[in-house]
Structure formats: structure tokens, C-alpha cells
């Protein structure tokens, strides 16, 4: 089901709407947010210079650092009294980034999430269990409001206490699961330990996964554990922009439809900062064109993708962004080679003899980098040769894909840490890293 009429607007109509909203937003931040005004003055651009959508590129970028420098409310465009909600990012490094919402912002957010839930197949008949951690994190409340707005039954179970989650799932006949991909795998694993087969004994038909990358390999692992017929879609967002609801996959799984009447996308070369032509791969930059609390202009997401303008079979006309390979933030540099943990994950999930959990450890010895990957042995064997063959197989596949050698450490099942939210797969022990 297509949720909103804006999703099927013609390109001309959409661009006219985007331009009007962009002009209004730029004017407002220029008037209300001193740090924007300063930035624009330094760049020699005024609100009236925005005549076409092309003029967007004249505006300066906003980065996460700008948000930190203006902590907590420096980039807000409304007085605190007009806000109804505050969220914040986890802030693992330095100060968290803080975002504020007016009532209109909450309504827009709800609308955007309802759209992506509809893309993923959700309807008012679903029982939706939200296994994201509630709290300052936007994921849980975002999906909660969007699905509730649809008329679905919400089970706000949050993350953790996995046995109880499974009990709710069974007893309430939950049909829709909201979780990170790694937690969805963990839930299935615990269910099996409890003697419950997620395919037969549970009723999950839809998985709306997010807040973490969903690789193709992870998607097929989801199907293996939860059944072939379930629809697993990934969706995209970040608290700086609003939370989940920026874009999502439809049932055709060919990229994520951007709610572009609210989020204007660009792709830039992260080094030169030049806007790239449609279809080219680069860093995603988003401008919030209908936001009151904290309307970010040209926010650098650090996510690498490309935009797809061809029409989608689902009937939506909104531009799609290709599913991500990884964040530039997650990228690790090993002996000068850029590696996304998702590339390693592909290899691990494709290896039958080991489980889906892993940890990448990076060390430096005599100025050279060493990568060790801890994996869990599933294959039962009485043969050293077979164990060595498993290690060699993984090592060789990684060498082909990454051009790097890694040490493969086999461990007993259930020894690696499990995650209930975003999984932390990389331990970088190199000095200065």
C-alpha cells in the first residue's frame, strides 16, 4: 500500500514543492539561527539567492562537529518553549548531538515512518513489537508513533530480556518485528535454545530492520532463521535529520525510497565537496526542508550511496538511495586498504561451518597492521585437518575480497558477545586509533 499521495507526485510537482519548502527553510534559519547566518555570510550567500533547486549547492554544509560546537540548542530555530520533545544520539565520542521537535515535527516524523512501514508491508492489522531500546535514541519512539498512527497494535517491549520478548511474541501473536538485524538474529537464536522454532511457532511476517546495516548476506540469514516468506526491509534515518523515516525499502527491494518532500538529497564527492551527477556514488547530503525545531541544511551524513531516479515497480515516484555498503565512519583502514566491516560479514555469513557472529580485532606490531577475526565454530568435527580447512577457506575468501590477510580464530559456540542494539564488531587496539 502507498501511504501518501506525495509518494506518487510527478517530478515537476515534487521539485516545485521542494523549492518552495527549501526557500522558506533557508529564509527561516537565516533569520533565526545566528550560526547559520554567519556561515551563509561567510559563503557570500543570501536567502534570496536560492532561486532554483540548483542553487542549493551555494549553501554551506553542516557537519556533526557543528552540532557539537552548538551543543545543546545552538542550531535550534525555535525557542525552547515551542518544543515538545528532545532526543539525543548516543555520543560515544564527545558530546551527544541533541535534536528538538515541535508538535509539527512529531507529526511529520510520524507520517514519514507510516510511509516506510507501509513500504515494508505493514498494515493496521499488524501486531508490531518494537525491540529497539527506548530512551534518548530515536529508533524506538519513531517506529512506535509511525506504526501506531497506522492502526497497528504496538508492543513496546524495548531491547533486552530476550526470553520475555519471545514469550510476548508467541502469546500476543506478534506479526511485525522492529529490531536491529543483529538483534533479530539473536532473538531467533534464543528462541531455538528455548525450544521454539521461529519459523513454525512464531507468527512474524514482517521485519522492519534498521539502525544498523542490512547486508544481502544478513537478509538471507534472516530468512534462514525466520522463514523464506517473511518480508525483511531496511529503512534509513538518523537522529540529526529526524530519526527513522528518511527512507525505506519497498517490497521490490531495489533501494530505499526517500521521503523527498521532507528530505532533499544530494550526492557529493566527500573530498572535493562537489555535487556529483545523478547516479554517481558518493556521500549522501540531506537538507531538511520542512522542519521547525532543528532544520539542518546540507547535512553531511557520512553515508556512501547513489541516487536512483528510475521509476520503481511499486508505483512510487520518489527517488531511491541504494542500500549502504557502510558508513564512512565505520570504514577501517588496514595496511592502507579501506575495509567496510560489512564486506567481512558477507564472507562470514556465507561460510556454513561457522555462526553469524564475529569480532574484528585490529592490532599494530612493528608498524604493521594485523587483523584477527574471531568466529564461532558450528561444525562438529574430530579432525584437525577439517578445522584448518575451515580457517583456510575463510582466509582465502577474505583475501580475494579485501586483498588482505587475516588470522581466523575459531571459538566455541556462544563465546562471542551478543548485542541487543547496534552491534559493535570492531575492536581497534592500534595506537592512536
Amino acid at each position: 500500500m502507498i501511504w501518501a499521495k506525495e509518494e506518487t507526485m510527478s517530478r515537476e510537482e515534487m521539485e516545485a514543492l521542494q523549492l518552495a519548502r527549501l526557500q522558506e527553510t533557508v529564509k527561516r534559519v537565516y533569520e533565526k539561527v545566528p550560526s547559520y547566518r554567519n556561515k551563509m555570510e561567510r559563503a557570500g550567500v543570501k536567502p534570496e539567492d536560492i532561486v532554483t533547486l540548483e542553487d542549493l549547492k551555494k549553501l554551506p554544509f553542516v557537519t556533526k562537529q557543528d552540532m557539537r560546537d552548538n551543543y545543546p540548542f545552538g542550531l535550534f530555530a525555535v525557542p525552547k518553549e515551542e518544543l515538545v520533545r528532545i532526543h539525543a544520539s548516543s555520543g560515544t565520542t564527545g558530546k551527544p548531538t541533541v535534536v528538538g521537535y515541535t508538535q509539527n515535527d512529531i507529526d511529520v516524523w510520524t507520517e514519514c515512518v507510516s510511509r516506510i512501514a507501509a513500504m515494508g508491508g505493514a498494515t493496521s492489522k499488524d501486531v508490531a513489537q518494537i525491540c529497539f531500546g527506548y530512551g534518548m535514541f530515536t529508533g524506538a519512539l519513531g517506529l512506535h508513533y509511525g506504526l501506531e498512527n497506522m492502526g497497528a497494535v504496538i508492543v513496546p517491549s524495548s531491547s533486552g530480556n530476550t526470553e520475555k520478548q519471545i514469550m510476548y511474541m508467541k502469546d500476543f501473536e506478534t506479526t511485525l518485528l522492529v529490531a536491529t538485524p543483529s538483534y533479530a538474529l539473536r532473538i531467533a537464536e534464543v528462541a531455538k535454545e528455548m525450544g521454539i522454532d521461529p519459523k513454525k511457532d512464531l507468527n512474524i511476517k514482517i521485519g522492519l530492520v534498521g539502525s544498523e546495516l542490512l547486508t544481502d548476506a544478513m537478509r538471507s540469514e534472516m530468512h534462514k532463521l525466520w522463514g523464506d516468506e517473511i518480508i525483511v526491509t531496511s529503512n534509513y534515518g538518523m537522529s540529526e535529520l529526524m530519526g527513522p523515516g528518511v527512507s525505506g525499502e519497498c517490497e521490490y527491494l531495489c533501494g530505499m525510497h526517500i521521503n523527498e518532500d521532507y528530505f532533499l538529497p544530494e550526492i557529493i564527492d566527500p573530498k572535493t565537496e562537489e555535487v556529483l551527477p545523478p547516479g554517481e556514488k558518493g556521500e549522501l547530503v540531506i537538507t531538511c526542508i520542512k522542519k521547525e525545531g532543528i532544520p539542518l541544511i546540507r547535512y553531511r551524513t557520512k553515508d556512501v550511496t547513489r541516487l536512483i531516479y528510475e521509476p520503481c515497480e511499486c508505483g512510487r515516484c520518489t527517488v531511491r538511495m541504494e542500500n549502504l555498503d557502510g558508513r564512512t565512519d565505520d570504514m577501517i583502514k588496514i595496511r592502507g586498504v579501506n575495509v567496510f566491516p560489512s564486506q567481512i560479514e558477507e564472507v562470514i555469513l556465507a561460510t556454513q561451518e561457522i555462526g553469524p557472529h564475529y569480532e574484528i580485532i585490529l592490532e599494530r606490531n612493528n608498524h604493521a597492521d594485523f587483523m584477527t577475526i574471531r568466529v564461532e565454530l558450528l561444525k562438529e568435527t574430530d579432525s584437525y585437518r577439517e578445522l584448518e580447512d575451515i580457517q583456510k577457506k575463510i582466509k582465502n575468501r577474505l583475501r580475494v575480497i579485501l586483498g588482505l590477510d587475516a588470522k581466523i580464530l575459531l571459538e566455541s559456540p556462544n563465546t562471542l558477545q551478543r548485542f541487543e542494539g547496534k552491534a559493535k564488531r570492531v575492536r581497534d587496539l592500534r595506537e592512536g586509533a
Partner: protein, 143 residues
């Protein structure tokens, strides 16, 4: 004529071996004999125990990767050259010995556990040489 050996994968890390032994103790499984080779990161602990099925179950419950493998436990006498003569028979038939270790039965004999590439054929050959093997029942009776 074969007996079941319990094979457990363990990381080469302090405490892991002890945890295996604890799981067996908890389940009242007695160890008759064991073999553990030294490798850098992990090892396969091979055990002859009083109740292999129960041992495997207990280890799995404690999160270990454990399996049962069929091996041959044969009785030897303390005579110079006996093992060499028997291996000669096996090798001539093109059978490879994968591993072998001593089995302590508590009696004054010299018994071994042996795993070969073709176990049924190896047993046929040994039997025709007059060799006796331990059955699972014999093993369970060893105190």
C-alpha cells in the same frame, strides 16, 4: 566392535580444559583415557568416558562443540614389537592411522585407542591376527 570417543573443541585458553572436566563431573561421567595435542589457538580433546552420550549432552549444554566418533580400542600385550607387527598389517592394506593414544584400563596390559582411515577394514585385519577389542560395555565397567 567400535567404541564411541567423545571429541571436544577447546580454545587454547586458561580454564577451558577445566570447564570441560567440570561439565563431565557434574554429569557423573568418568574419564577412562584422554588425549590432547598442543596447537597454538585451539585443540581437540579426545576422551574415552564411561558414558559418551551423557558426556556429549552435558558438554553441549555448557556451550561446547562436542561430538562422538567411532574408534577402535584394542588389547595388546607387553611384548617388544607387537604394535609394530600389527601396524605393518594395517599399512600394507593401504590404511592410514589418523591418531592413536594409550588406553589405561587399570589392569596390567597395554591397550590403545586407534582411529584409521578405514575402520571396519582395519578391524577385520586385526581380528584375523587374533587381536581383541574393547566393547562399549567393557569400557563402562572400567573403574
Amino acid at each position: 566392535m567400535f567404541i564411541k570417543q567423545l571429541s571436544v573443541f577447546i580454545e587454547n585458553r586458561e580454564g577451558r580444559l577445566e570447564q570441560v572436566l567440570e561439565a563431565l563431573k557434574k554429569n557423573g561421567v568418568n574419564i577412562i583415557s584422554l588425549s590432547l595435542a598442543d596447537t597454538s589457538d585451539y585443540g581437540l580433546l579426545r576422551l574415552i568416558v564411561s558414558d559418551p552420550e551423557k558426556g556429549k549432552q552435558g558438554l553441549k549444554e555448557d556451550g561446547f562443540s562436542a561430538m562422538l566418533t567411532e574408534v577402535l580400542a584394542i588389547k595388546l600385550s607387553h611384548r617388544v614389537g607387537q604394535l609394530q607387527e600389527l601396524l605393518n598389517v594395517i599399512c600394507k592394506a593401504g590404511i592410514n592411522v589418523e591418531y592413536m593414544y594409550a588406553l589405561s584400563t587399570g589392569k596390567d596390559d597395554a591397550s590403545i585407542v586407534i582411529k584409521t582411515s578405514d575402520l571396519p577394514k582395519a578391524w577385520e585385519l586385526l581380528k584375523s591376527e587374533g587381536v581383541e577389542a574393547f566393547t562399549a560395555r567393557d569400557i563402562a565397567k572400567i573403574q
